[in-house]
């Protein structure tokens, strides 16, 4: 599964699982960019079938509900949804 890399300040390994059609995912992506945090993202809905299933399982491992956006920091900390305050506090 190919992740798009966005350069910026290193705050750990920051991975955003998003949907290309989703408003809250867009806001989360814009926030990371505005904060200048180095991260990778993937639009799960645009993946080919097999990779999509793999990505969904990955998301469900961090967030059993399997909802978007799911933001994973250092494979540990998980922020589900556009929680602006929490994202700023965690990565600011």
């Amino acid at each position: 599964m190919k992740l798009e890399h966005v350069p910026g300040t290193n705050r750990g390994t920051v991975v955003l699982y998003a949907l290309s059609t989703c408003g809250w995912c867009g806001k989360t992506k814009d926030l990371l960019k505005e904060m200048g945090v180095e991260h990778s993202y993937v639009y799960v809905d645009l993946l080919p079938e097999k990779e999509l299933e793999e990505a969904l399982r990955e998301v469900e491992r961090f967030n059993p509900q399997g909802s978007f956006p799911t933001l994973v920091i250092d494979n540990r900390k998980v922020i589900v949804g556009f929680r602006e305050k929490e994202i700023r506090e965690t990565l600011g």
Binding site: T21, W24, V44, G66, S67, F68
Partner: protein
């Protein structure tokens, strides 16, 4: 590709239908137009307007609950003043008395949905003179051999009905 004109036209239709039913689209026009674009993308991709903020399976029978307006809109409007993607908001949000933010996902997980499908298939049919059908979008009930082709209240299609009794 979705054109601006297509977004305009769908936005206007959804806005008109929302008002007629006593609902409101999100007054943040740029945000809402972006969601309408997502709905149109999903309509092209899957053949139905799956929620832009949820991952659709592409199998209509598994995605019926997230075809916009989704099964969860009304309870979410009631509890949070906005639906999950925030296309629909409460009157208080329109009046500026509260704001629409991200809300918890009410839709059961994939594993829970699978379990519910198996359970539904196991349940025995009742002994009423007619089955009672419930519109999952607006809650309308009718006792007939089959649900109506279109919900007379909210215009949801027949496949959005579930057996209630």
């Amino acid at each position: 590709m979705i054109t601006e004109a297509e977004i305009d036209s769908r936005y206007q239709r959804l806005d008109r239908e929302a008002r007629q039913g006593g609902y409101n689209l999100n007054p943040d026009i740029a945000f809402t137009r972006n969601l309408v674009r997502g709905l149109l993308v999903n309509e092209q991709r899957y053949g139905y307007m799956a929620c832009p903020c949820r991952i659709a399976s592409g199998k209509k029978e598994e995605d019926l609950d997230i075809i916009c307006p989704c099964d969860y809109r009304d309870p979410d409007l009631n509890d949070y003043g906005a639906c999950y993607c925030a296309l629909y908001v409460s009157g208080d949000v329109v009046a500026g008395k509260s704001t629409a933010g991200p809300i918890p996902e009410r839709r059961p997980s994939r594993a829970e949905r699978k379990e519910a499908r198996l359970k539904g298939a196991r349940e025995a049919l009742g002994t009423l003179a007619y089955p009672v059908w419930r519109c999952r979008v607006c809650g309308y009930l009718c006792a007939m051999n089959n649900p109506p082709l279109v919900c007379p209240i909210c215009k949801a299609k027949q496949d959005r009905f579930e057996r209630f009794l």
